[in-house]
């Protein structure tokens, strides 16, 4: 099937304003008759639920955490982009749009990205109004910093905790609506199924994580704001509870999953120490503003850092990409680190690490300035590694971090299933094959505060409120499916814990479908993953019962989905015979080892449709047309 992204016609810069002028509105007095389900309370979910509540809709908000304030957006450190041009350094909506498209290696939809750049400034204004304490200069003006993939300084920040401050801003707005009675919160509640009636999303089935009770909620529209799937790699920078479950179960109910192979491996994370590792910790990319990345020039050079003279050091990013240097985009920086380590030039006990060195900046600016800029990151680094980043270079290595792929949505952020909206990282829409730093926060809040309040009404005007009630047989069926799966997981009583299977899957994903992929490695993964899955369903041991708080059961359910989804990801990577952004196929590279796109054959969004267990998924395509930009080789040299 050829998918229609439903971009409005007309010149790029006028599409969104024209859309807003033309759209149909729901009468204010009718809004409260509409019940809207919002799953997830991160930046996208909290801002969407708050804003929809504010408009007068009746909102039910769900999250698996004990409080909406704990969603993983909270961990974003560096900042949020906006085309304010406060610094007079040549920024504009067009430039942010261009940087984002280019950063995404020309694999995103022009109209969506332009809209995002257009509303980026409003996001900052909105956040300031809701009490986000952004960094200010001595005259009281907003400060900015530089981030990867941009030559202007457009990233607004709150120390190294920007995600936290933005999320708490959205959480405050959400809390206000809870008090006003427009939003009802359901914490410690996990969505386990999407209920589809006559082809439209009309509700969800959830498990109460305290009592184990399985129940359903009916809604006139469902918004999934459930984050990314990068925990499919087992070790990642995501929180332990982040999963693909909500999105994947929607996929099994007919929603298309787009570009799952676009995964982001973040270059600046603390290296792995051993098998016990449960997660990887990211050090904000903002560190690359002042830190210089290097490895020894010679293979196997085991001298301590302070005995390696300048002449024997390879500042490889500065060497290969002189105009962007240490601020080259994430995919390029990660791959360069991997190459250096694969050549035997890595540092640290495992050889999988590169130096991030602040010595020059400390000499130039003083330790106090560096401390003021990144103090909390240096503290965090020391807590984890027991090393002092002011006295010796930090050691970093890439780690799985973000998912550009996600459920397919059109310009309205609506999936191919009418009534199902997907926001933030959970959708595929704005970052193409690689996301630039500080753009995830922008997209999450943009979708929730400014896009969905407009686009959801276009759908709602076409549907009568309360059309489907909880007594519809589909709800009962959905609850039975969820109960059956829960019972099955508890009944296997095998020999291995859920985590062991997750780790096995993670190893295959990281080695075969990680930073560099080949036809051979992908085919191997497609063979191995079903084996792990099969063993899981025969030999997993889930202790405890289904009628109480049971963290092992929660985990097992999520892993069961990862075990299917990992294969889909590998299939998508295998079908895409080109390299672009975070998807690097070793067969497709330029003479200098850069990603080589194939615009003639692969300039489309690959959206997969579920065809049943053990059946190959069906590929649908949305051709990407570039009306404004010319497809160009992405160069950061």
């Amino acid at each position: 099937m050829i998918l229609d992204g439903k971009s409005p016609s007309g010149p790029l810069s006028q599409k969104w304003s024209k859309y807003c002028q033309d759209m149909k509105l729901v009468n204010p007095s009718n809004k409260r008759k509409y019940n809207i389900i919002v799953v997830g309370t991160g930046l996208a979910g909290a801002s969407a639920a708050a804003t929809l509540g504010e408009l007068g809709y009746n909102v039910e908000s769900f999250c698996y955490q004990d409080s909406p304030r704990r969603a993983h957006s909270i961990a974003a450190q560096g900042g949020i982009n906006a085309a304010k041009n406060y610094n007079n350094d040549g920024d504009s909506i067009y430039r942010l749009f261009y940087d984002t498209i280019k950063g995404g290696d020309f694999r995103s939809r022009e109209s969506n990205v332009y809209r995002l750049a257009e509303i980026s400034g409003n996001i900052i204004d909105q956040c300031v109004a809701s009490g986000v304490p952004f960094a200010r200069d001595y005259a009281g003006y907003l400060e900015t910093r530089s981030f990867g993939g941009a030559q202007v300084s457009r990233t607004f920040f709150s120390r190294g905790q920007t995600g936290q401050q933005l999320l708490l801003g959205a959480y405050s707005a959400l809390s206000r609506q809870v008090k006003l009675g427009t939003v009802k919160l359901h914490p410690r509640t996990e969505m386990l199924d999407l209920v589809v009636v006559d082809g439209e999303a009309k509700g969800i089935t959830v498990r109460d994580m305290v009592t184990g009770q399985i129940s359903s909620y009916a809604g006139d529209a469902v918004c999934l704001c459930t984050g990314g799937y990068i925990n499919v790699y087992f070790l990642s920078t995501n929180a332990q509870g982040c999963s693909v479950t909500a999105g994947y179960r929607a996929y099994k109910k007919g929603a298309f999953f787009a570009n799952p192979c676009y995964t982001q491996i973040h270059p600046t994370c603390i290296p792995v120490t051993g098998e016990h590792q449960s997660k990887l910790t990211l050090m904000s990319e903002s560190l690359r503003n002042d830190g210089r990345i290097w490895v020894p020039k010679k293979k196997g050079d085991k001298r301590p850092f302070n005995e390696i003279p300048e002449a024997d050091r390879d500042y490889y990013l500065e060497r290969k990409y002189p105009s962007y240097g240490n601020l080259a985009p994430r995919d390029i920086s990660s791959r360069a680190a991997k190459e250096a380590c694969d050549e035997g030039r890595g540092v640290g006990p495992t050889g999988y690490g590169v130096y991030l060195d602040f010595a020059d900046s400390i000499k130039r600016l003083g330790e106090d300035t560096i401390r003021a800029r990144y103090g909390n990151l240096f503290e965090m680094y020391e807590r984890i590694t027991d090393e002092n980043g002011y006295k010796q270079p930090m050691r970093i290595y890439p780690a799985a971090h973000y998912a550009m792929g996600g459920l397919w949505v059109d310009y309205n952020l609506m999936s191919n299933l009418p009534g199902l909206f997907v926001l933030g990282e959970a959708n595929f829409s704005d970052h193409g094959a690689n996301r630039l730093g500080a753009s995830a926060l922008m997209q999450g809040l943009g979708d929730g505060y400014f896009v969905i309040p407009n686009t959801i009404s276009s759908y709602l005007v076409s549907t009568k409120p309360g059309k489907v009630k909880l007594d519809h047989p589909e709800f009962k069926k959905s609850q039975e499916e969820v109960s059956t799966m829960t019972k099955k997981l508890l009944s296997i009583n095998g020999k291995r814990s859920p985590k062991e299977f997750w780790r096995d899957l993670g190893k295959v994903m990281w080695n075969n479908v990680g930073m560099a992929r080949s036809e051979q490695s992908l085919k191997e993964a497609i063979n191995k993953i079903p084996e792990i899955r099969e063993e899981f369903w025969k030999n997993v041991k889930v202790v405890g019962s289904g009628t109480e708080l049971n963290q092992e059961l929660e985990k097992a359910g999520r892993i069961a989905d990862f075990l299917e989804f990992g294969e889909l990801l590998a299939r998508d990577a295998l079908h895409r015979n080109e390299s672009c952004g975070g998807h690097f196929r070793t067969e497709y590279q330029t003479a200098e080892g850069e990603a080589k796109r194939d615009d003639a054959n692969y300039c489309y969004v690959g959206a997969w449709g579920y065809k049943g267990a053990d059946k190959e998924p069906e590929l649908h395509k949305e051709p990407l047309t570039f009306e404004t930009l010319h497809l160009a080789e992405r160069s950061y040299k």
Binding site: Q65, V128, G140, Y141
Partner: protein, 245 residues
Amino acid sequence: MNLKLFVWRQKGPNSQGKLEQLEAKNISPDMSFLEMLDEVNEDLIKQGKETIAFDHDCREGICGTCSQIINGIPHGGQERTTTCQLHMRKFKDGDSIYIEPWRAKAFPLVKDLIVDRGALDRIIQAGGYMSNHTGGSADGNAVLIPKPDAEVAMDAAECIGCGACVAACPNGSAMLFTAAKVTQLAMLPQGKIEAAKRVCLMTEQMLKEGFGNCGNHYECQAACPKGIKVSFIAKLNREFMKASV
């Protein structure tokens, strides 16, 4: 290293709880405290026993989910460190470690080490926000904010809402938590407009939830993983006085 653990086990809010003795074997100093518990749980699974339930999520010290009293101190006593960021190199081979949930009247126990901190959400719902609408906000630079004020607001805003302050306080008071939000918003020009109403609503909710009053023990500041200072409680009291006179 090998450790002897005494872990609080309790099936549910109405069941009887007790400290259970468990072994943690072959623990690497590079493990985080929660990774150590992961290992213990994997052992329990092998024995077919129920795992220790504990709250955790981001494991990088920012989501505020993890909440354990370790050897009598919320988050274990390393300065500015959450349970998830505490590493095993701070312990010695053969150590006995006592692990308990947050204990406070306003935090009913859910299971084992998990408590219900919904009361903190309800304090925010009472008034911890600006009553602005989405859209129509003035330009971010329209109202300038002196850097010192923005810095104090940010110091207060660093609170992760973990509730260690409540667990550390002999009175089970949530004054530090409430003070942090009141201060953050009262320091900003946009927040001054509703400051009086906000501080009254939030403190009223705080009392309604069963949190005690501040007795100037300063245990909250010592336990806070984000270094939130008790001087904010003075600010809370001042804001409250201002609102009441």
